[in-house]
């Protein structure tokens, strides 16, 4: 760990990516994540890396695909409307089993929406952002420290499972400043993975980076094998944080900025004698199903707090197998609930019981 510095969330992502060994960044300007590009534009030329402002979001993700094909770390960052455009490329990355990082600093939608914070790309991120059967790893930071830490983790997991990873932040996380301890630089990249397209050196049969397979039987098998890999990730990689859950009778489920707001509300509720705690998913895919299912036997109800119309409630209901009611506290369109609003919902849930 390096010494503590004050940084904006978006800048923490950029610096953490560089420290993780990423030397190739491709992006297109869009609010509220442009600081990532601006940081990369300054830094990359000085460390022998690539910063390229692409002609479009589509070109940017395909440049990432090109670098990923050579086995090197690369990334792009954008915000919701730009991520829609990248979805085709993300599907190709997944289909060719290539690791890469896509940062989504979400804003309100749909369509052009607004530029204020949102979590309304939850479905897009967790259901496989693009055509076909696939998943990406989805990590949801709730502090500037986690913006940095999860960027490094995203690269690590993307490589481990040979799949794209998405850092799913929101406008608040991108724009806020907090103290952060940056990680030490990762060791220099080892030699190219044996599957990479780096030239045969006339020493081996050619490598082909590809998602096309015209034989249905073979394509089926490839999908099955990919899902076997996903099953390992679902078993090994869920990450979450529990807060005041020991004796909780109400379980708040929240990620990102709303988890921060919920934390304040929970502390206030506890002062009023309400036994409430929180499970904060850090990975949204794989979703931390096990701790939620365990909590279902303990609590009377769940309360999802998020900046969308309740997209995560479906995952919570599935995780707890609908054993207990799942409520929702949400604001959308760029609005953020106050701790008082969350507290009111907790009090209501407390009155209603199970």
């Amino acid at each position: 760990m390096q010494e503590k510095v004050l940084m904006k969330g978006n800048e923490a992502i950029a610096e953490a990516a560089i420290l993780a060994g990423c030397r190739h960044y491709f992006g297109y300007p869009i609010t509220p994540q442009t600081e990532v590009a601006a940081y990369m534009a300054k830094k990359m030329p000085k460390i022998g890396g690539t910063f390229l402002q692409a002609e479009s979001e589509i070109a940017a993700i395909n440049m990432v695909y090109g670098v990923a094909s050579t086995g090197k770390l690369s990334m792009t960052s954008s915000s919701s409307p730009g991520i829609s455009l990248k979805c085709e490329g993300i599907s190709y990355l997944a289909g060719a089993d290539l690791p890469a990082l896509i940062v989504n600093v979400q804003r309100g939608g749909p369509g052009l929406g607004g530029i204020q914070p949102s979590q309304s790309d939850y479905f897009l991120a967790t259901r496989g952002p693009g055509h076909g059967d696939f998943h990406v790893l989805v990590l949801a930071p709730a502090s500037v420290q986690e913006m940095a830490d999860l960027t490094g983790l995203a690269f690590k997991l993307a490589r481990k499972y040979r799949m794209p990873a998405m850092l799913l932040a929101d406008g608040t996380m991108g724009q806020m400043m907090e103290p952060v301890c940056l990680p030490d630089p990762a060791e220099a990249e080892e030699k190219a993975p044996d599957w990479a397209a780096v030239g045969t050196g006339c020493a081996r049969v050619h490598n082909i980076i590809n998602s096309l397979e015209l034989s249905p039987a073979v394509l089926e098998q490839k999908n099955i094998e990919r899902y076997e890999r996903y099953a390992i990730a679902e078993k090994e990689e869920p990450r979450w944080e529990e807060f005041m859950m020991e004796d909780a009778e109400i379980c708040v489920v929240s990620y990102g900025i709303t988890a921060r707001v919920s934390r304040n509300a929970i502390v206030e509720a506890r002062k009023k004698g309400i036994k409430v705690g929180m499970i904060r998913p850090i990975t949204l895919w794989p979703f931390p199903k096990a701790p939620l299912l365990k909590a279902a036997d303990q609590v009377k109800s769940f309360l999802c707090v998020e900046l969308n119309m309740g997209q995560m409630t479906e995952d919570v209901e599935l995780a707890i197998r609908c054993k207990k009611p799942v409520g929702l506290c949400s604001r959308v369109g760029g609005m953020i609930p106050t701790p008082a609003e969350v507290l009111a919902k907790i009090e209501k849930a407390n009155e209603e019981g199970g």
Binding site: A59, M63, V67, S74, G199, T200, I209, N210
Partner: protein, 247 residues
Amino acid sequence: MTTVFDKPKSLTDAVFHYCPGCTHGIVHRLVAETIDELGIEGKTIGIAPVGCSVLAYNYFACDMIEASHGRAPAVATGVKRAMPDNIVFTYQGDGDLASIGLCETVSTAARGENVTVIFINNAIYGMTGGQMAPTSLLGQVTQTSPYGRDPKTQGYPIKICELLATLDAPAYLARVTVNNVKNVRNAKKAIKKAFQNQIEGKGFSLVEVVSSCPTNWGMTPQKALEWIDEKMLPQYPLGVYRDKGEE
């Protein structure tokens, strides 16, 4: 016994899927011969996006990447930035390069990326069964221009070499064809130059190969080659549209 003619090392033993009389086979051979002659097989990375040539990754013996429709120049940009000492080429058709991927084509050329683009212009979408392409000729009958391409509703053909020649960055832009022996030899020279430029770091080089599609043009292979002379070349004049080495 002396071998006087052989398959280039840079082609695999896979049997081409291309239709009888299609000129993809000739162009594949010219690219492979070039790679052999320049001794770059071991460090070349090819990119084949969607279209008839999507399966080119099975035919070229170098490392290959399949790209999404139209995005090969962006993928090539990523590869070249990550691997500047390797040789990177794309092999794209007209629907791919001049329609869905036009933005990537123009932008990659405008940046002067040090890559080589082989552009097959046969004025039709072959893989999907013969639809109108951005390069289809006026009056040309296709599945999606059944009454002939009408400029009032379907616009005019896009001339890629002329369009890219308005940009400052490209190092080399040439239009060739492969419908007779003399033209094949000229095409080979242009393709070789486009790769040589990359080795020398000169920047973006594109060779447009006016090609035939007997199947979707509804002609015999022989008639299709004649049609190139009669109809295609008046619209797409052969020649060098940019050569920074000669300026």
